[in-house]
Amino acid sequence: MKEIKIFHDATKDVSAFADKIKAKQKKIVGTLCSYAPEELIYAAGFHPMRLFSSKSDIILAEQHLQTYCCSLVRGVLEDSLSGRLDFLDGTVFPHTCDSIQRLSDIWRMKGRYEFFADVVLPVKLNTQSAKIYMVDVLTKFKKDLEIAAGREITDTDLRESIKKFNLIRKNLSKIYALQSQKPGIIKGADLYTIVKGSMVMDRDEVADLLPAIAANIEKMDTPEQNGKRIVVSGSICDSPDIYTAIEAAGGVIVGDDLCTGQRWFEGQILEDEEPLTAIATRYMDRIICPAKHSSATARGENMISLAKKNKADGVVFMLLKFCDPHAFDYPYLKEFLEKENIKTLLIEMDDQQQNLGQLSTRFETFIHYI
């Protein structure tokens, strides 16, 4: 599909893609977490770009972060220090885990880019005072962006932005739903590329392309092959090869609980409410990330309903090594799922070193066993 190819090209060489954005006189603001208020960045006239590690060897970041820090955090810092992110005009750090918290400090102290903002959202997402605080933080962030942009962000700007992101989210949800209904209709690697592309590409372009992709897929017939239905869960999964390996082992991805997946795009922002409150409401209601809190069992309940809704045969946990929030949740999520007779597999990954051969064997064994 030619639309998907555009996503592939954009994600293959992010810096070449960034140059294209720059050519349009747009400033690029990097983000590191699915709680980064992209709608605000876009409304300010900037291009929000989710940062991923280029997975290069860690050399310069060794001087700042010990080896027991997750490869995403070390990798992104390495990219920044080595100049690979020089296309950035700024960065936004929403508060997530302890590692990102300290990355933000180190990043700010390095001061490599013009614009810098911490968006310290609440950790609790289940109280009224947390919501008020969240709106306060968003209001402050809006002001910071206005100063950086040298212009006011009007309600109209914000509403248009919210509409755009809602459209993107709606279509991503639709593509996922189609995949779950007709498993295999879209390759895992394509699915991954579409989501990743939607996080880095020009959102106007994304908003144009996604409906076409969804419409095309809808017209396609259900593929013959009947793989085992797999849901993946974890922080980020930044490797299309892993999806391919799952498919080669006889699985098919029917849903995910990833920061680079459904956790990021599920849930719409109410378009007729006051914009900042509406953005906050979505964050409060959205599928929760393990670094945030709504109840002690929220993620477990969500995992069960996700697995059931997608009739999953198994759940693959893909956790980045040294990622605390996810590692703390894993035992109980596994227990919750197994109580429902849903089998699980744990894969510990490291962005810099992936042993695909070994992974494939583990996928095969698992898929055979379920």
């Binding site: 950790v123 402050k140 703390f328 035992p331």
Partner: protein
């Protein structure tokens, strides 16, 4: 001769402290029989409202330190790993989680909590850890969310945390089915303030050359300011301790016999090697006179208003050492280097504690740029000995001390 010397150097208050802690743990263990409620609380959490409500506070982190010191860490960590918890997680959390299940450790596990109070001013780990315990014990969990102040304590943060102090009180009223006693709170607040001031003064005595005690003693005497802050017991104890320190200064009694070099320690102690480290440094005539860890329980005291305690603790609990930006942490380290007249900085790169350890390398660089003291970084873990290589650490300490000796000759 050496024995007599060490007797003279022994801090007399240590026994009193042990007795107090024993009584405290006995009270906690028998709380149920005595119709008292128990709250588990994070080390950086506001304990004063619990004390005011006559709820017994229990600190899993203090328990973790005991587990580490009694060298039971490895076994309990392994048990947590068998339960599916990654070996890369904080070893306080790992030991506590498995201890709850197997009732192991030096005191056979902690008393069951009636409620959990989690303040994330120290890390995000406690949030996840307390969620685990909330599921295990099926008890209510209160989270005091203190947003990190990377560069400042903003009005938004102030408002949010203050609102939560009230929510905390409502939570306690609901669980105890009693009204909150604001009068008692005011008294407890004053006592907490007093004990923190005294603790600060105790720590300040080590600015004297030679130092009457070392950071290893501070690690030990810390337990009371953590667990019994807000009680008369803590105030009385630290008064005595302060007196003893002042007497030692008068009598010229130092902790390290021939103190020549004064070192600053960063990060949590390595609980299972305290003695060894202490001897190691002392053999080099070096005393760890101060540390960034034990002072965390009084570093935010400047934000506390003893006459308006509840209003002021929002700020005091939010702006503690670990909940600020790395550059501000570096400033505090620099201040300590000056105040304590430090010849070298020893940083414990602690695999367990990411918010404490990430950023350390930047602090190291800043210290090297702004002072001319050497910095040593040793990699270990506070409770899990599997990440500690004694021979390697020994070699590095020897080399580090050589540099210090050369610079100060």
């Amino acid at each position: 001769m050496p024995d007599k010397l060490s007797d003279k150097r022994k801090i007399k208050c240590a026994k009193k402290m042990r007795d107090i802690m024993t009584t405290y743990y006995l009270d906690a263990m028998t709380a149920e029989q005595n119709n008292k409620q128990v709250a588990w609380i994070t080390s950086g959490g506001p304990v004063e409202p619990l004390v005011a409500m006559d709820i017994i506070p229990v600190y899993p982190e203090n328990h973790g330190a005991m587990i580490g010191a009694s060298k039971m860490g490895e076994d309990l960590c392994t048990k947590a790993e068998d339960m599916g918890y990654s070996s890369d997680l904080c070893s306080y959390a790992r030991t506590d989680i498995s201890c709850s299940v197997v009732k192991g450790g030096p005191i056979g596990g902690l008393p069951k909590p009636d409620m959990l109070i989690c303040c994330n001013n120290i890390c995000g780990t406690v949030l996840k850890w307390y969620e685990v315990q909330a599921r295990f014990y099926k008890v209510p969990l209160f989270i005091l969310d203190t947003p990190i102040c990377h560069t400042r304590y903003s009005p938004e943060i102030a408002k949010y945390v203050r609102a939560q102090i009230d929510e905390y009180i409502v939570f306690l009223e609901k669980i105890t089915k009693r009204n909150f006693d604001y009068e008692k709170m005011a008294q407890v607040g004053k006592l907490a303030y007093k004990s923190q001031m005294l603790w600060q003064k105790v720590l300040n005595t080590t600015a004297r050359n030679p130092s009457p005690m070392s950071a290893f003693d501070a690690f030990f005497f810390l337990a009371l300011i953590v667990t019994l802050r807000g009680t008369q017991i803590a105030v009385d104890f630290y008064k005595d301790l302060l007196e003893e320190m002042e007497q030692r200064i008068k009598d010229g009694i130092s902790m390290v016999p021939n103190e020549k070099y004064r070192l600053l320690w960063d990060n949590l102690p390595i609980w299972y090697r305290l003695k060894w480290l202490s001897n190691k440094f002392s053999d080099h005539n070096a005393c760890l006179v101060a540390d960034t860890y034990t002072s965390a329980w009084c570093s935010a005291i400047k934000y506390t208003d003893e006459n308006n305690f509840l209003d002021s603790i929002a700020e005091a609990y939010t702006r503690i050492y670990l909940n600020i930006g790395v550059d501000q942490m570096a400033d505090q380290v620099l201040e300590m280097i000056k105040f304590y007249d430090i010849n070298g900085l020893v940083m414990h790169s602690n695999r367990s504690c990411k918010p404490y350890s990430f950023g350390q390398m930047d602090i190291m660089k800043i210290v090297r740029e702004k002072t001319n003291i050497p910095v040593l970084m040793i990699e270990a873990d506070m409770v899990d000995p599997r990440n500690f290589s004694q021979s390697q650490v020994e070699t590095r300490i020897d080399a580090f001390m050589e540099i210090i000796k050369q610079r100060n000759s």
